[in-house]
């Protein structure tokens, strides 16, 4: 049951702050509920591994922290300890690294908005549109 779905989650200290699914095939029937739930489960169970991997390196980009079935979880850790996590079915490291770097720039600009508080859910529509544009550019 290999799904080409890409799941991107921004996780704060206590809860996810932002979620986006980048399906390569928008025309296909919506991925069944169980597949979606499984994806979220895989991503959240990788959180402990992220914390473990963070001790091993100075970089923000933590590469692949977990492999489950055919899917891999890559993570990027921001300076404020916010985790960008991407569930994917095997993509080149470079494209994922570029994706994370661009989303990080967006995130920094968002934090400069006086009306956005650190570690709160991200509801800005412009942020969502831009993240999807970046995903289209690097991940498909």
């Amino acid at each position: 049951m290999s799904s080409p779905v890409l799941l991107f989650v921004i996780v704060g200290k206590n809860e996810p702050l932002y979620e986006a699914e980048f399906n390569k095939l928008p025309g296909s029937a919506a991925t069944s509920d169980s597949v979606t739930r499984q994806n979220y489960f895989v991503l959240h169970s990788a959180l402990d591994l992220v914390d473990k991997a963070a001790w091993t390196t100075n970089n923000m980009y933590l590469k692949v922290v977990d492999k489950v079935n055919q899917q891999q979880v890559s993570t990027f850790l921001t300076a404020g300890n916010i985790k960008f996590m991407l569930l994917h079915g095997g993509r080149s490291e470079d494209s994922i690294k570029n994706f994370f770097t661009d989303v990080y720039e967006l995130y920094v600009k968002l934090s400069m908005n006086p009306f956005y508080q650190y570690d709160t859910p991200i509801t800005s529509k412009t942020f969502d549109n831009r993240v999807r544009a970046i995903a289209r550019r690097y991940l498909s």
């Binding site: 400069m112 908005n113 006086p114 009306f115 800005s124 412009t126």
Partner: protein, 208 residues
């Protein structure tokens, strides 16, 4: 000999008159950048973030958008009544003959020297008492996105207060408000400046 002397004396008086006439038509387009060069500068991101923190704190204190707008205007007014002294000292301006000159000085010299903004004055009404100052870029607004719950917030209202306060100290009572804002979706900011009253010069209060 006296004839020659007389002529040269009149020549000097004429030269003086010509000089003062050209000086009173000083060019705000050159004065603005010149004054800007002489001012102390600060980091623009620090400025933007500080103003953003100020507005966010006001919103937490008041919780009513109209109250915040009024408070920003009041704070701007207090800044403006003090800023006019610095403006007059550093920009080397002369008395304005009419409101048109005043508006040009505000837009081209004032906004330029304090904020580095390049502004234009347009949309004059028929008796030259109201105009629009358009700003294409505004250092207060960098990185800001208004959430939908704050769509009535006039984020840069401080600027209007400053202009109003400064002009009131030189005896021009004006109404100053934003009619178009980039944060509300327009493609540039527009401030409508309307002259309401020209006050008479008053002698300083009696010190006895």
């Amino acid at each position: 000999f006296r004839f020659v002397c007389g002529l040269s004396f009149e020549g000097q008086v004429l030269a003086l008159r010509v000089r003062s006439a050209t000086m009173s038509h000083q060019n705000p387009n050159t004065m603005g950048p010149a004054a800007w060069k002489g001012m102390d500068k600060m980091n623009s991101e620090l400025f933007t973030l500080t103003y953003g923190a100020l507005v966010a704190q006001l919103l937490r204190d008041h919780e009513d958008v109209d109250a915040v707008n009024a408070q920003l205007d009041k704070m701007g007014y207090n800044i403006g009544v003090r800023l006019i002294d610095e403006f007059l000292a550093k920009s080397n301006t002369e008395r304005c003959a009419n409101f048109e000159t005043t508006a040009n000085l505000v837009a081209k010299v004032g906004l330029k020297m304090f904020l580095g903004i390049n502004a234009n004055v347009e949309k004059w009404n028929s008796d030259k008492t109201a105009c629009s100052i358009t700003l294409s870029d505004n250092p207060f607004q960098a990185f800001v996105e208004l959430p939908p719950s704050l769509s009535n917030l006039c984020y840069c209202n401080l600027m209007c207060g400053v202009i109003r306060g400064a002009l009131e100290m030189v005896n021009r009572v004006v109404k100053c408000e934003f009619v178009k804002q980039k944060l509300h979706g327009a493609d540039h900011d527009e401030i409508r400046l309307t002259l309401e009253e020209v006050k008479e010069d008053q002698p300083p209060p009696d010190d006895e």
